[in-house]
């Protein structure tokens, strides 16, 4: 099983009526999609609206997703279409084909700076989250930091990471888990702040 299988299984569950499975996909791809839309839509609150719209459209269109492409690729196209519609409906020029038809939907990684969001709280929150994660990373024991970096930033499989780090796969799995938990522990107080669990 690989990550694409995981998505496919979640989609199939959703197609059989398990809405929660779709919610997991939303949680997983929300930021990636928002990042994509921000390339075309300047206003961050509009990005949120359009992203939301795209997810709902994707949910309604689930019956026609047949697993020929990866779920995110399909979601990406729906996101693009939704953004296009939105821009056109707002009377703005729809971007040209080259701007929209970027092929590397799955490989898209954006090294841009933190984009400003419109409310002071969310600016602060974004920065705090990034800050907390970075700090936590620095404080991790080296082998945990390496493991999670190789996984999240290099996208390597456990097997490859095991080869690079010269350890058993089980150890890779455990290190990645412990890294995540260590960072999560630092994040939890931040995320639990206030009733508004927007993060």
């Amino acid at each position: 099983m690989d990550e694409r299988d995981l998505d496919r299984q979640l989609v199939e569950r959703a197609q059989r009526g398990d809405k929660h499975a779709f919610e997991l996909l939303v949680s997983k791809y929300q930021r990636k999609l928002a990042r994509l839309l921000a390339r075309f839509i300047r206003d961050p609150s509009e990005v949120e609206d359009v992203a939301q719209e795209a997810f709902i459209k994707a949910y309604r269109a689930l019956p026609s997703f047949r697993g020929d492409s990866a779920f995110y690729t399909w979601l990406y196209r729906i996101g693009i279409n939704t953004a296009k519609n939105y821009l056109v409906a707002m009377g703005r020029r729809a971007p040209t084909a080259t701007e929209f038809n970027s092929e590397d939907a799955e490989g898209f990684e954006d090294a841009e700076q933190l984009r400003d969001v419109n409310t002071p709280e969310s600016v602060l929150m974004s920065k705090e989250i990034a800050h907390t994660v970075n700090n936590a990373m620095e404080q991790l024991p080296e082998e945990l930091r390496n493991a999670i970096t190789l996984r999240e930033l290099e996208g390597l499989s456990y097997e490859d990471i095991a080869t690079i780090m010269n350890c058993p796969i089980g150890t890779v799995r455990s290190r990645i888990f412990r890294a995540r938990e260590a960072i999560a522990e630092r994040l939890r107080p931040l995320l639990d702040t206030g009733k508004d669990k927007r993060w």
Binding site: Q15, K19, L24, E48, Y59, R173, F177, R180, A184
Partner: protein
């Protein structure tokens, strides 16, 4: 449990994950872990934004639950009850393949429809091409008059959609 979740997220858990996906539904701690592990990964990659998921989830709760119809096997569905086989004499036809539509190939059913006459032209030798947008215009003009369409409102207009899609999405 969370360690298994961590492996599942990376697509690295062997075996059937259904039980685990089920537990994600019922265990709030596990669900929170799913959210925060993904947040960590996104943050490391520089994907930051306010969370959109809570609003989507609350809207989803109002959406009618989607159920996908059973997957289409193929167009060849034999319905025994409707035996209407008559001897066919197919005049020669020039088959036009609407190009570039994935999954839509030269229709071999046309050739296989009955007794071939001498003038039949094999599909592969044909180069002709009907501009997709022309057909779309004809289809749009035609739809309102179909009584089959009358039963379905504007629903059959989706038939015309494919042509525009091909014309636009080269």
């Amino acid at each position: 449990m969370k360690e298994k979740l961590s492996a599942i997220i990376d697509g690295e858990l062997e075996g059937d994950i259904h039980a685990h996906l089920g537990r994600l539904r019922t265990d709030p701690d596990l669900r929170a872990a799913w959210d925060v592990y993904h947040l960590i990964g996104d943050t490391l990659r520089g994907h930051t934004s306010p969370a959109i998921a809570p609003r989507v989830i609350s809207r989803l709760s109002e959406e009618p639950t989607v159920l996908a119809p059973p997957r289409a096997r193929s167009t060849v569905t034999r319905i025994g009850r409707y035996g209407m086989y008559a001897a066919a004499s197919m005049a020669a036809v020039a088959v036009v393949a609407w190009t570039a539509f994935p999954g839509w190939h030269t229709d071999s059913q046309l050739a296989g429809g009955g007794v071939a006459t001498t003038a039949e032209i094999p599909a592969e030798n044909l180069v002709v091409n009907l501009p997709a947008s022309d057909v779309e215009n004809y289809l749009l003009a035609h739809q309102p008059y179909s009584h089959v369409s009358a039963m379905q409102g504007v629903a059959p207009y989706v038939r015309s959609v494919a042509e525009e899609r091909r014309a636009a999405g080269k």
